[in-house]
């Protein structure tokens, strides 16, 4: 979309040339609006037409897995510490050696993100030492109840399963 360069006009020599300049300016204004009328509207017809999402968009959280299916998250709780709005709750536990959940010594037994509190700042992603937590491009997060806005570990784990009834938030 081209922007019209605005030049400040020289001061008019007399009243008549001033009037002519004014009328010319009005006509140019009319030309601008008429030009816009024949341009394609910039509107995205949202539900039918999808918006283009930036590669760096910070949307829904996702807990990543290694290729072998083990979780990247080691339950260190650094994300919860980094969170400025206290939206994340992590409860770590010892990783059982016979049936490992993560690749580390510990894993996240509980991982809860309160999407009502989350401000999508991405500090949790920056804090994560194992790159387990990612903010994805998904942005359609609206729901009908407060309870359904609290995402449990099952909801967050990749590949993102269909969201279901979730845990209650923050015991105690």
């Amino acid at each position: 979309m081209a922007f019209v360069e605005v030049k400040s006009p020289p001061p008019p020599a007399n009243a008549l040339s001033g009037a002519v300049a004014d009328v010319t300016a009005l006509a140019r204004g009319l030309g601008v609006t008429l030009g816009y009328m024949f341009q394609k509207p910039v509107t995205i017809q949202y539900p039918e037409e999808r918006p283009r999402i930036s590669a760096r968009h910070r949307g829904r959280h996702e807990l990543e897995r290694h290729d072998n299916g083990l979780e990247k998250c080691v339950g260190c709780e650094l994300c919860a510490l980094a969170c400025p709005s206290k939206a994340i709750f992590v409860e770590g536990a010892e990783n059982p050696p016979d049936a490992p959940v993560s690749i580390g010594e510990r894993y996240a037994k509980t991982y809860i993100v309160n999407m009502i509190r989350c401000i999508f700042c991405g500090f949790c992603v920056e804090a994560c030492p194992t790159e387990a937590l990612q903010l994805k491009k998904v942005f359609e997060l609206a729901d009908y109840t407060r309870e359904s806005m609290i995402y449990s570990k099952e909801t967050l784990l990749a590949p993102a399963p269909k969201r279901e009834a979730t845990d209650s938030w923050m015991p105690g």
């Binding site: 979309m1 009005l26 204004g29 009319l30 601008v32 609006t33 008429l34 816009y36 009328m37 341009q39 394609k40 509207p41 910039v42 509107t43 017809q45």
Partner: protein, 361 residues
């Protein structure tokens, strides 16, 4: 039909004329209101396109049912009268704005007098020899609706809006009247049908009577925009300054009557400008064969449509004037130019025979 029901032929002619006029009036009033409804949609769509967006396109195909949805919404909205408002004046004011707007169209000749299936047919309700005076007189009544609405609402914003509306309409009526006088002087008649007929028979609309006709036309259009309280002269309802101006305290159907009045007035001003300066159904000759004459009203409506587009275009482009600038434009620029223009036109008309324009060719 001599002797039917014991009435003679002359009486039957009168009865038939009355019935015809009633049917025409019914069609015109409903046509104007339908035009109003779709004008709101057109305005929103054109404004949208001029702002690089779509405008309403959700209700029905291309949003074509939007006016109906709007109408249903407005009809069922709560009709609030402020506690300390004057109830009767508050109720009558919207009608005083709407009814004059609707009855002006009676004198507008949409097409040439013609014969359909051998019967004489006219495209107007009334052909009166003071047609233009009738139109301006009725239009002036319409401003009472705005003033009374502002007064009766017992609201400062509404009162200021009403005062602005009256000051503005009275100021611009002068320039508008003088510009219209130029066309009337050229035609030598106040009869709108005669005015159009002269332009059609001379083959030259008065806007092309250079330079005076064009100047008068431009002044008439500018003053017309101010008369209808349309942007950029929409002081009376300046939503950024006065809430909504004179209709701040109105809602529901009464509010929509003001809305209708504004748009029907736009149609009226467009129709009058078409009659006075664009030669009505010019270039369709008045004495053409029947089916070509039938194109007359279509040409007329196209011209009205062009004016309506101009109203929207102006609104999309220009910011609102400051009130003192509005007044100085009306009194210090348009009025003197229109006055001198009228004097010079009159001199030319007095010096050359009627219907001859020395600068035309």
């Amino acid at each position: 039909m001599d002797g039917l029901f014991g009435l003679d032929g002359a009486t039957w002619d009168i009865i038939l004329a009355v019935i015809t006029a009633l049917i025409k009036a019914f069609v015109i009033v409903n046509g104007l209101l339908l035009a109003f409804a779709y004008m709101t949609l057109t305005e929103r769509k054109v404004l949208g396109r001029m702002q690089a967006r779509f405008g309403p396109n959700r209700v029905g195909p291309f949003g074509l049912l939007q006016p109906i949805a709007d109408g249903i919404k407005l009809a069922f909205k709560e009709d609030v009268t402020p506690r300390q408002a004057n109830f009767w004046v508050h109720m009558v004011a919207p009608m005083m704005a709407l009814i004059p707007a609707l009855i002006i169209f009676a004198v507008i000749p949409l097409g040439p007098e013609m014969r359909i299936l051998g019967q004489p047919w006219t495209w107007y309700v009334a052909k009166i020899n003071v047609g233009y005076l009738y139109a301006t007189a009725i239009a002036s009544v319409g401003v009472y609706g705005l003033v009374l609405a502002g007064w009766a609402s017992n609201s400062k914003y509404a009162l200021l809006g009403g005062l602005r509306a009256s000051a503005q309409v009275i100021s611009y009526e002068l320039a508008q009247g003088l510009a219209a006088m130029t066309a009337l002087v050229l035609a030598g008649s106040l009869n709108l049908y005669e005015i159009v007929n002269q332009q059609v028979s001379s083959g030259l609309p008065y806007a092309l009577y250079l330079p005076f006709g064009l100047i008068a036309f431009v002044i008439y259009v500018i003053a017309g925009v101010a008369e209808t309280n349309r942007s950029p002269f929409d002081m009376a309802e300046a939503e950024g300054e006065l809430g909504a101006g004179f209709h701040t305290e109105y809602s529901g159907f009464k509010w929509s009557m003001f809305f209708m009045a504004e748009y029907v007035n736009m149609i009226n001003i467009s129709a009058l400008a078409t009659v006075l300066f664009l030669g009505g159904w010019w270039p369709i000759p008045t004495d053409a064969p029947g089916f070509i004459q039938g194109l007359g009203p279509i040409v007329f409506l196209i011209k009205i449509g062009a004016f309506m587009f101009m109203f929207i275009w102006l609104r999309a482009t220009f910011p609102r004037l400051r009130f003192d600038r509005l007044m100085s434009l009306g009194w210090k620029v348009l009025l003197p130019i229109a006055l001198v223009n009228l004097l010079l036109t009159s001199a030319v008309v007095a010096l050359w025979p009627l219907g001859v324009w020395p600068f035309a060719q």
